[in-house]
């Protein structure tokens, strides 16, 4: 057990308020919570990559950061125009 793994464990609990916010409120409030969850998961993947000493898995965090952007933007545009 190292500091990185402990940090990752605590970070998992920060996803709970994001989960609660995703199931409450109107569509935009849920989207904001989804974006926050995407960012927290990106940070979590960096913690895990360092905790297990696997530099190659940093790519997962980078991909997560980019996909959070793509997904959030698609939702924002749909919510603005069609939904």
């Amino acid at each position: 057990m190292n500091a990185w793994l402990m940090g990752a464990d605590v970070l998992l609990f920060t996803l709970v308020p994001c989960g609660i916010a995703v199931f409450r409120g109107n569509a935009i409030e849920r989207l904001v919570a989804l974006e926050m969850a995407g960012i927290v998961q990106t940070i979590l993947l960096v913690f895990l990559a360092e905790a297990f000493h696997r530099p190659s898995t940093y790519d997962l965090a980078l991909a997560m950061a980019l996909l959070t952007f793509g997904g959030g933007l698609v939702f924002a545009r749909f919510l603005e125009r069609w939904l």
Binding site: A3, W4, M6, G7, V10, L11, F13, T14, L15, V16, P17, C18, I20, A21, R24, G25, N26, A27, I28, E29, L31, V32, A33, E35, M36, I39, V40, T42, I43, V46, F47, A49, E50, P55, S56, Y58, D59, A61, L62, A65, L66, T68, F69, G72, L73, A76, R77, L79, E80, R81
Partner: protein
């Protein structure tokens, strides 16, 4: 030994600031105020994380990729928050430009159809 303590402190700062911003998601009422809490996570938290990774590994593959992640999150979050706020205004007021009654200095006003 000192490096380990510094890494632990930086990780604690990262986790703590992330936790505070996540809690704000359910405590803050207005959606536009909630969007502000996306910014500290993509700047301060990731910066503390980058410092910890750099302390741990020095100039390595992990540090370079964490710098990339910081840049991506920092730039992407600004665009994403703007797009989300714009969608929120369009859903709320029918148009994203300021309402004539809002008197926002220097901002172009939306179509009069909003009145």
């Amino acid at each position: 030994m000192v490096a380990n303590i510094a890494i632990a402190v930086l990780l604690a700062l990262c986790v703590l600031s992330t936790a505070i911003c996540c809690l704000a998601l359910i405590l803050v009422k207005d959606v536009f105020n909630r969007m502000h809490y996306l910014a500290p996570v993509t700047s301060f938290s990731v910066l503390a994380l980058l410092a910890a990774v750099a302390l741990q590994n020095g100039w390595s593959q992990g540090t370079i990729k964490t710098i990339l992640i910081l840049l991506v999150l920092f730039l992407v979050n600004a665009v994403l928050t703007h797009a989300t706020a714009r969608a929120a205004r369009v859903r709320q007021f029918g148009h994203w430009l300021p309402h004539p009654k809002e008197h926002i200095l220097g901002a172009p006003h939306g179509p009069s159809s909003q009145l």
